[in-house]
Amino acid sequence: MAAVLNGVLEQSLAENVKNSKLLVVGAGGIGCEVLKNLVLTGFKSIEVIDLDTIDVSNLNRQFLFRKEHVGKSKAQVAKESVLKFNPDVNITAYHDSIFNPEYDVNFFKKFTLVMNALDNKAARNHVNRMCLAADIPLVESGTAGYLGQVTVIKKGLTECYECQPKAPQKTFPGCTIRNTPSEPVHCVVWAKHLFNQLFGEEDPDQDVSPDTEDPELTAEAGQSALETAAKENEVGGIERKSTRVWAMETGYDPEKLFNKLFRDDIKYLLSMETLWKKRRPPEPLSIDSLPTDIDSSNQSAMRDQRLWSVKECFDIFGKCLEALKKELAAQGDSGMLVWDKDDTIAMDFVASVANIRAHIFGIPMKTRFDIKSMAGNIIPAIATTNAVIAGLLIMEAFKILSGRLSACKTVYLNRVPNDRHRLLIPCTLDPPNPKCYVCAPKPEVTVVLNTSRFKVGALQDKVLKSHLGMVAPDVEIDDGKGTILISSEEGETEENNDKLLSDFGIRNGTRLKCDDFLQVYSLIITIVQTEKLEEEKEFEVVGDLSELQPKEETQTNRSKDQANGSKAGPSHAAAQDEDDDLMVVEDEEAMEQQAAQEERSSRKRKASDDTGATTTSKRSKVTDSAAAECDVIEIS
C-alpha cells in the first residue's frame, strides 16, 4: 500500500520522496512529530538518532512514547511506534550520540537530506558542520513554548547555522550573585553554586562567600571590610578556607552551616557599607527566631506549588544536608555529586537555600515549582507547537526534493499574528556570511585573551571545544616550526595542558592552525593579547579583527524584510519594529541541560532570554539560549 497517493503530490516529487534517504537527528518533541509525518507521507528510508531515554515529562507531547516506555531509548521506541503507522518503511534507529566519530562525513553523505530536531546548540553546530562537510542540505528546527521556527541550510547557498553570532547567554556578574542579589534568580544561582561548593565539583568561579573585589567597593572600603570582618568573624570560622573543607570538618552540621552562610557572611557583607548606601541591606538570620509565617494566600495543596516559610526552608535544608552527606560519602573519597533538577533532594536543597537567601535580601520567595524552572532552565514545551513545526519541516523538505532550493524559507511560528495577519512568517534565506568562521572558504577567527595567564588546556576545552564547537581539535602553532600545541591523539600533548600559552611563544598576532578531522573543519585562529577583559571574561572570540572596531555596516540584511512584504526601512531599527521580527527559540531540554552544565563547566553560558533576543533583529535565527552538553542529542 502506498502512502503516497496518486494526485496528492506531483509525480516527480512523489518519486523523489520514495527514493530519498533521510536522517532525523533527535527523536523528542519535534522528532516524534517529524517521524510520523515522514512515514505517512511516503518516505521509505529513514535513519533516526537520539542519545536520550524517555522521561515522564516527555509524555505530554512526545506522543510516540507511553508510560511503559519510560527509561527506554527514544530512537528505538519512536521507530517501533511509527512502524505501526506504516510498516513498509525502512527505519534504522541509533540510541547514540551524533558526536560519535562513527557518524563521519561518509555517514552523512549517504543521505538525501538531514533534518535536525535537536534541543541544544552544541549538537546543532556539529550537525551543521557535518552537513557542510558532506554538502548535504539540512533542515533545521526549534521550538520554545508557543514559538517555533524552521530553516534550511545548504552549503554555499544559504547561511549556515553558525553564520550569525547567537544571542549571548545571560550571565550574572559574580559580585551580584555573591554580594548584592536583587532577583530570585540570583539566589537560585547562588544556591546551585553552594551545592557544588559543598558536594559537587569545586569551581573557583562559583565561590559563594562575600566578594571583596566587588568593583562597587573602593579599594579602601573593601580592605577595611576585610579587616573588620577578620576580627568579627573568627568565631564563625569564616577565614579563607575552602567552603568544602570547612563544611566537611563540621560534618555538614546544619546549624553551623546556617550560621556561617546566613548570619556571619551576611554580617560581613553588611560591613561593606558602600554596597548598602542605595540598597536595602540584607538582614542576618538567627536560627532561634526563624519566621514561620508565609505571606501568600495561594497555598495550594501541592508541595511544589506552595511557598515554604523560612523555618520550613531551614528544616528542609537540614534534611538535605544529611541526605547529600550520605550520598557523597557513599561515593568514596574523591566522590562528587552532580546537581540535577530531577533529583528530589538536590532540588529541595536549592529551593530551600535560594529562599532563605531571598528572605535575607528582601527578595520575594518562590515556590519549588518556580525555582525548578529557574534552576533547571526549563523551557516549556507543548505538543501543538511541535506538531506545527514538524509539519513545516516536511514542507521545506518537499521544496528541496523538488529541486526548488531557492524557494526554501525560514518560517517562524509566532504567538499572535503580525500586523499583516501572518501567524506563520516566511523569510527569505540569506546567502552565506563570507566572514563566517565555519562555512567561509578559509575560516578565520580572532581570540582575545591574556597569553601569560591562559593555559593550553583552557584553550582546548573552553575556546575550541566549548565556544568554537570542535570535537577533537588538533592545533599547530604557525611559527614556521609547526609546533604541535594540542593533539587529538590521546596522550600526545596532555603535558601541555597546564602550561601557559606564553610558554609556547604565543603572543599578540600569533596564528594557530586548528583542525577537526571528524568535522572536516580547519580554522585559523589569530591571538590578540590583552591584559584584562571586561566583566570577568577570560577570553573573547571575534569573527575578525574589524569587529573589534565600532560597527559601521548594518545594511546587509534587507532581504528578509522584503520577503515579508514589509517595508525595508532605511534603518535597522525600523525593520525591527515590524512585528515579523523573529522570535527566537530553543528547545526545552537545552535549557535544562544548560543550567546543569552551566554550573559544572565554567563556560559562561547565559540563560536565554527569548524576548531579549528579539531585539537583535530577525537575524538571530535559532538562538541558543543554551549550549548544552556536548554529548547529548535530544530534543524536544
Binding site: 506522543f63 532577583e183 505538543a383 506538531a387 499572535v416
Partner: protein, 352 residues
C-alpha cells in the same frame, strides 16, 4: 455548563503535575484545571481529525467523543495515524479509539458511529467544545447555530491537499491574559568610587505579571459565509486584498463537499479536477471577486490530506481549542488559513 465552576474544586494530582509539567509551566495550573474539565466532540476522524485528537488528548482534556459515520479507506494510510492498517474498511471513529486512548489514559475516549446530522441538539449541547472536520456548509451552519444557542465553543476545520483552514465561533468569549509590565528599574547605583566605572547599570527587576480579564465577540458562521466583497470601493478592494486565497479555495471546496457529499478523491482524479475548476469559476463569480483570487493550478494541490498540512492546521486548531477551554489568552478571531504552496499562514477576521 462552565468548565470554570466545577474544575476549581478539584486539584491537580502529583501524577498529573509530573505528566503535564512542561505545559503547566507555559499556561499555568488554572488553565490545566479548566482543561481537565472540558468535554470535546470531534466530528470527522480523517487526517486532520487525528491530529486534533492527538493534540487535545495529550494536553489532558476530560473527555473526547470522536464521531464519524464513514469507513476508513486507503487515503487514511497517508494521514490518519490513529487507524491501524488492519482496520481499513471499518468505521473511522471506532477504529481510532484504541490508539487515541493510549495517548493519554487519563482522558475518557468514546466513539460515535452515526452521522452528525442524525444527532439532536441536546446531544450537541452537552459538550463544552465541538470541532467539526470534513463537514459541508449545511452541516456546519446547523452546528454553529446550535452551538451559539447553547454556549458551546464551535470550531470547524479541514485539509484539502496542500491547503487547510480553521474557523472559530466562540460567540462572546471571556479570557484571561497575562500582561507583563517591568517594575520600575533599580536606580542607577552611583557609588562614591572615583575612576572605577560602576558596572551596575540600572537593571530590570523581575517583570511583574498581572492577569487581565478580556472579552471577544465572534460573528456567526452564517454571517461569515454570506460575506460579499464590494470591489467597487477602494475600501472594499483593500479588505479583499487582505483575505488570503485559501479562504476562496475553502469556499470552492465547501461547495464541492456540499454537492458531492465527499471530498475530492484521488481515485477520481481527472473528473474531480474538472469539477473543481468549474466550481472555482462559479464560486468566485458568486462572491463578486475575480478568478485570480484562486490560482488556476489549485486543483492539482487539493487532493487527499497531506500529513504535514494536517499537522500544521491540526496544531493551530488544537491550540485554539486549548485556549478556548482554558480561557487563557486571546483566541484567533475567526479564521486560520494555511497554504502549503506558498508558505502562507494567516489569521484573518471575516464577517465582522
Amino acid at each position: 455548563m462552565t468548565a470554570d465552576t466545577k474544575s476549581k474544586e478539584e486539584n491537580i494530582t502529583e501524577d498529573e503535575a509530573a505528566l503535564y509539567d512542561r505545559q503547566i509551566r507555559l499556561w499555568g495550573l488554572d488553565a490545566q484545571r479548566r482543561l481537565r474539565a472540558a468535554s470535546v466532540l470531534l466530528i470527522g476522524a480523517r487526517g486532520l481529525g487525528a491530529e486534533v485528537a492527538k493534540n487535545i488528548v495529550l494536553a489532558g482534556i476530560k473527555s473526547l467523543t470522536i464521531l464519524d459515520s464513514t469507513v476508513a479507506d486507503e487515503e487514511d494510510t497517508a494521514s490518519q495515524f490513529l487507524i491501524p492498517r488492519s482496520e481499513l474498511g471499518k468505521n473511522r471513529a471506532e477504529a481510532s479509539m484504541e490508539r487515541t486512548q493510549l495517548l493519554n489514559p487519563m482522558v475518557q475516549v468514546t466513539a460515535e458511529t452515526c452521522s452528525i446530522d442524525d444527532k439532536d441538539d441536546a446531544f450537541l449541547a452537552s459538550f463544552d467544545v465541538i470541532c467539526a472536520t470534513g463537514c459541508g456548509p449545511t452541516t456546519l451552519l446547523r452546528l454553529d447555530k446550535v452551538c451559539r444557542a447553547n454556549g458551546v465553543k464551535f470550531y470547524a476545520g479541514d485539509v484539502f491537499g496542500f491547503y487547510g483552514y480553521m474557523f472559530a465561533d466562540l460567540c462572546t468569549h471571556e479570557y484571561a491574559e497575562d500582561v507583563t509590565k517591568p517594575k520600575a528599574s533599580e536606580k542607577q547605583v552611583t557609588d562614591g568610587g572615583e575612576g572605577e566605572p560602576s558596572p551596575k547599570k540600572a537593571k530590570m527587576e523581575e517583570p511583574e505579571t498581572t492577569t487581565v480579564k478580556k472579552s471577544m465577540t465572534f460573528p456567526s458562521l452564517e454571517t461569515v459565509l454570506n460575506t460579499k466583497f464590494d470591489t467597487a470601493t477602494s475600501e472594499g478592494k483593500k479588505k479583499l486584498r487582505l483575505v488570503p486565497n485559501t479562504f476562496f479555495i475553502t469556499k470552492v471546496m465547501l461547495k464541492f463537499l456540499e454537492k458531492e457529499k465527499r471530498s475530492p478523491a484521488s481515485v477520481k482524479l481527472d473528473s474531480d479536477r474538472r469539477e473543481l475548476n468549474g466550481l472555482r469559476h462559479q464560486v468566485l463569480h458568486e462572491m463578486g471577486v475575480g478568478d485570480s483570487k484562486v490560482p488556476e493550478e489549485f486543483s492539482q494541490f487539493c487532493f487527499g490530506q497531506l500529513s504535514p498540512v494536517c499537522a500544521v492546521v491540526g496544531g493551530i486548531l488544537g491550540q485554539e481549542i486549548i485556549k478556548a477551554v482554558s480561557q487563557k489568552d486571546a483566541p484567533h478571531n475567526n479564521f486560520f488559513f494555511y497554504n502549503g504552496t506558498d508558505d502562507g499562514g494567516f489569521v484573518t477576521s471575516i464577517g465582522s
